[in-house]
């Protein structure tokens, strides 16, 4: 038993570490690690990953919320969209064939790789739209000199639309769909990138939590696998978030694009070749 638990724990620490460093969350890496290295069925990997994603989201959110990077009101509005998608996706995951899930996973990896390449600076707007003002979604973040910078929010409905898709993918594939969430807030709703990342991380907890509850209640989470994996991913993510400020962002991003592409090829090949 110690060898198996130790192996799963080590695998999960590495996945959590890479997930935190890349900003994509542990789920993107733990699913392929469990399928490819530990030879676990896809659905077991998805169930274990979903629970791990809840843990990493909570761990990282503690600092982000405390330091004011998370826009809690934006999160609460958009969570209505993600939870709808996540519950639907988790329910469908029990019905959809594994080969389709693996292909979808490969496509999500490609989307995450594309997002990592395209990541750019903030594109703030001066005036929020009426719905955003009604819901009091604007916020403030400190600039490099520590002075508060005000930002407004627009296109709430369009952002929520993409959030339903993000939730659906998260529920189906056991990942946080962080890249899609950040894209919705950064590109469509014009939130600052750091706020988008922190808010996405915060929301991931609810999306994954909704999906994880479906899996747990259905009996589709293997406790023997999920327990050491959840602990390992959390430890890895916490270590990664401490190391992140000292890492070279450009080198990290390039390395992760390569990793994501390799995973996409591997998972796509597995699906198509029927392994």
């Amino acid at each position: 038993m110690p060898e198996i638990v130790g192996g799963l724990f080590a695998l999960a620490i590495v996945a959590g570490l890479i997930g935190a460093l890349s900003g994509l969350g542990g789920g993107v890496f733990i699913v392929p690690a469990l399928v490819i290295i530990a030879h676990m069925p896809m659905k077991v990997a998805v169930g274990a990953s979903m629970i791990s994603v809840v843990a990493t989201s909570a761990g990282a959110s503690v600092a982000f919320v405390r330091d004011g990077w998370t826009n809690l009101k934006v999160a609460m509005v958009l969570e209505c969209a993600t939870v709808t998608g996540a519950v639907t996706g988790a329910y469908l995951a029990g019905i959809i064939p594994t080969v389709v899930l693996e292909l979808m996973f490969a496509l999500m990896m490609l989307q995450s790789a594309y997002f990592s390449i395209r990541k750019r600076g903030d594109d703030l707007v001066e005036h929020g739209d009426p719905l955003s003002r009604r819901l009091d979604l604007a916020g403030e973040i400190p600039n490099d000199q520590g002075q508060p910078v005000h930002y407004e929010v627009v296109n709430v409905f369009s952002g929520a639309g993409l959030m339903v898709v993000a939730g659906l993918m998260a529920g189906l594939l056991g990942i946080g769909s962080g890249a899609l969430k950040v894209m919705a807030m950064d590109y469509i709703m014009h939130l600052p990138l750091k706020v988008s990342s922190a808010t996405s991380n915060f929301m991931i907890g609810v999306t994954a939590g909704a999906g994880a509850l479906v899996f747990l209640a259905r009996g589709d989470v293997s406790t023997a696998i999920a327990a050491p994996v959840a602990l390992g991913v959390t430890a890895g993510a916490l270590a990664g978030s401490r190391f992140l400020p000292h890492a070279n962002e450009r080198v990290l991003r390039e390395a992760f694009v390569v990793i994501l592409l390799l995973i996409a090829i591997e998972m796509g090949w597995r699906a198509l070749s029927g392994i």
Binding site: M1, A38, P41, A86, V214, A217
Partner: protein, 129 residues
């Protein structure tokens, strides 16, 4: 309650709530693993190999689960730990829901109530599916 107060309460108490549930869940999971290692390591290996071979079905009634966990069954203790982890988001949404009711901010009461309902539907769908 002024909006600033509401924001301050959310910013101070949300991290405390997240950390508390997370640490509790992690402690229960570690306890479950230690119990498994000392009491029935052979069962763990057997379960692991069965899952690898595709034999996965671990549905338990909630009542049985809690009773077994309290009786020190390692598998049930770990399952309770996993359920506790999924309570992290549920707990903080419930906290926000109560705060918005207190502030009579009905738009946000509706948003958080919808998310809570979604999480409950998740459990029901899992039971049905």
């Amino acid at each position: 309650m002024p909006a600033n107060d509401e924001a301050r309460i959310l910013r101070v108490w949300t991290p405390v709530l997240l950390r508390t549930i997370l640490i509790t869940a992690a402690t229960i999971l570690i306890l479950g693993l230690l119990l498994m290692a000392t009491r029935s390591p052979g069962y763990y290996v057997q379960r692991y190999q069965a899952v690898q071979a595709g034999g996965l079905h671990e549905r338990e009634r909630f009542g049985e689960l809690i009773a077994n966990a309290l009786g020190g069954d390692p598998h049930s203790v770990m399952t309770v730990g996993l359920f506790m982890l999924t309570l992290v988001p549920l707990g903080r949404v419930a906290f926000c829901f109560l705060l918005f009711i207190r502030e009579r901010d009905y738009a946000y009461v509706a948003f958080t109530a919808y998310v809570l309902a979604g999480l409950v539907v998740g459990v029901m769908l899992g039971r049905i599916g």
